[in-house]
C-alpha cells in the first residue's frame, strides 16, 4: 500500500515538473484543431477548393487556354461573428491563381503608390525619359473576384457547433455576367469533456 502511495506521489512530481513552457516549430500545413474559431486549416481548405474549382471550370478552361485574362479582387464581406482577416484569404487565393499561370491580376490597393512612382519618374527630372514608365498603358481588368463569408453558431451546454460558408464569384465586368461561382462549407464542433477545460 505504501509502495503504491510512493509511486503515485512520484508520478505526480513527474507530471508537475513536466509543466515547463517549451517552444517548438510546427508544420504550417498540419490540421489545426485548437478551438472551433476560424483557423489556418479552414483558410487552406477554402483556398484550395476555390482555386481548384475556378481553374477546372470548363468555360474558364476554354478562356484560359487562349489567353491570360486580368482580374481585380474586390473585398470579401465578413458576415461571421468573428474578426477574420478576409484580405489574407483573398491574398492566398490570388497567389495560388497567379502561380498557376492562368490569370493575371491588377492590385487596386496600390494605385496611390503607383501614381507617386509615375510622378517621380515623369516630373522629378531624375529619371531618364527613355526608361520612364508611360501613362495610360496599364491593362484594364476583365473580371472581378468578390464574395461573402458567413457563419451559423449554435451552442448548447457543453457543445459548440459552427458552420462556415464561403462564397466566391467571378464577374465579367463588361457584361456583368457571373462566369463562375462556388462555395465551401466547413462544419466544426467542440465538446467539453469531463477532464477537459
Amino acid at each position: 500500500m505504501h509502495g503504491l502511495k510512493n509511486f503515485v506521489c512520484g508520478l505526480s512530481i513527474v507530471i508537475i515538473t513536466g509543466c515547463a513552457t517549451s517552444v517548438k516549430y510546427e508544420d504550417a500545413t498540419k490540421v489545426e484543431t485548437t478551438t472551433t474559431d476560424f483557423g489556418s486549416t479552414d483558410l487552406q481548405q477554402i483556398v484550395n477548393k476555390m482555386v481548384d474549382s475556378l481553374l477546372t471550370f470548363p468555360p474558364i478552361v476554354q478562356v484560359t487556354n487562349e489567353r491570360r485574362p486580368v482580374i481585380f479582387v474586390n473585398t470579401i464581406k465578413n458576415k461571421t461573428l468573428e474578426h477574420i482577416d478576409t484580405e489574407s484569404i483573398t491574398d492566398s487565393i490570388r497567389t495560388k491563381i497567379v502561380r498557376s499561370g492562368k490569370f493575371r491580376f491588377v492590385d487596386l490597393t496600390k494605385v496611390d503608390a503607383v501614381e507617386k512612382q509615375f510622378e517621380f519618374q515623369s516630373e522629378s527630372g531624375m529619371v531618364n525619359k527613355a526608361t520612364a514608365a508611360t501613362f495610360g498603358q496599364q491593362i484594364g481588368a476583365e473580371y472581378m473576384l468578390y464574395g461573402n463569408f458567413s457563419s451559423i453558431v449554435k451552442k448548447a451546454e457543453d457543445v459548440r457547433d459552427i458552420y462556415y460558408k464561403f462564397t466566391l464569384n467571378l464577374m465579367h465586368l463588361e457584361t456583368g455576367i457571373i462566369e463562375w461561382a462556388d462555395e465551401e462549407e466547413i462544419r466544426k464542433t467542440s465538446e467539453r469533456s469531463l477532464f477537459g477545460r
Binding site: 503515485v8 508520478l11 507530471i15 508544420d27 504550417a28 500545413t29 498540419k30 490540421v31 484543431t33 485548437t34 489556418s40 486549416t41 487552406q44 481548405q45 484550395n48 482555386v51 481548384d52 481553374l55 477546372t56 478552361v61 484560359t64 487556354n65 495560388k96 502561380r99 498557376s100 499561370g101 492562368k102 469531463l194 477532464f195
Partner: protein, 154 residues
C-alpha cells in the same frame, strides 16, 4: 493526495485507483505512428502517342491500411493542368477521421512547391467510399502523390 481531492474523485464516481489507471492510460495515448499510406501516379507520353500511366501504393501504417483502402487512382488533364482522382473505401463499420494531402512532381521528378499543399481533414463513414480530388498547381505537373495519415487532434 488530500482527503478533499479523494472526495472530489468519489463525487465524480471514480475510485482512487481508477484515477491512477486513467492517468497512466492517458499518458500513453498519442504514441501512435505518424506514418501513413502513399499512393503515386505518373503520366508519361508513350511510344504510340498514347499517354501511359504507372501507379503504386506504399503502406507504412498497417493499422490505417486495415481501415482505409485506396481502390483506384486516376488522372486526367483539364486544359493543361493535371487533375488527380483517388477513390478510397472505409473497410470498417465505424466513422474514420483522417487527413490527406497531394504532392505534385514535374516530369524530371522535381517536386513543385514542396510543402505548400495543406493537410485536409476528411470524414469517411462506415463502409463508405469517397473520391478525393486535387488539381496541380501549374501545367508542369506530370506526376502526383497522395499521402494519407491518421488525424491527430491536439
Amino acid at each position: 493526495m488530500s482527503d478533499h481531492t479523494r472526495l472530489s474523485l468519489r463525487h465524480m464516481g471514480l475510485s482512487y485507483y481508477g484515477f491512477v489507471i486513467i492517468l497512466m492510460a492517458s499518458s500513453f495515448i498519442g504514441c501512435s505512428s505518424t506514418a501513413g499510406i502513399e499512393g503515386s501516379m505518373s503520366a508519361a507520353p508513350g511510344q504510340d502517342g498514347q499517354t501511359t500511366y504507372s501507379k503504386y501504393v506504399i503502406i507504412n501504417n498497417d493499422s490505417l491500411a486495415r481501415d482505409i483502402q485506396i481502390v483506384d487512382m486516376k488522372s486526367d488533364f483539364v486544359g493543361n493542368l493535371l487533375r488527380a482522382h483517388v477513390s478510397l473505401v472505409n473497410k470498417d463499420n465505424d466513422t474514420l477521421n483522417f487527413q490527406f494531402k497531394f504532392s505534385w512532381f514535374e516530369e524530371s521528378g522535381r517536386e513543385i512547391d514542396p510543402d505548400t499543399d495543406a493537410w485536409t481533414p476528411v470524414i469517411l463513414y462506415g463502409k463508405e467510399s469517397k473520391s478525393l480530388q486535387g488539381v496541380a498547381p501549374n501545367p508542369n505537373a506530370k506526376e502526383f502523390k497522395i499521402k494519407i495519415r491518421e488525424l491527430y487532434t491536439e
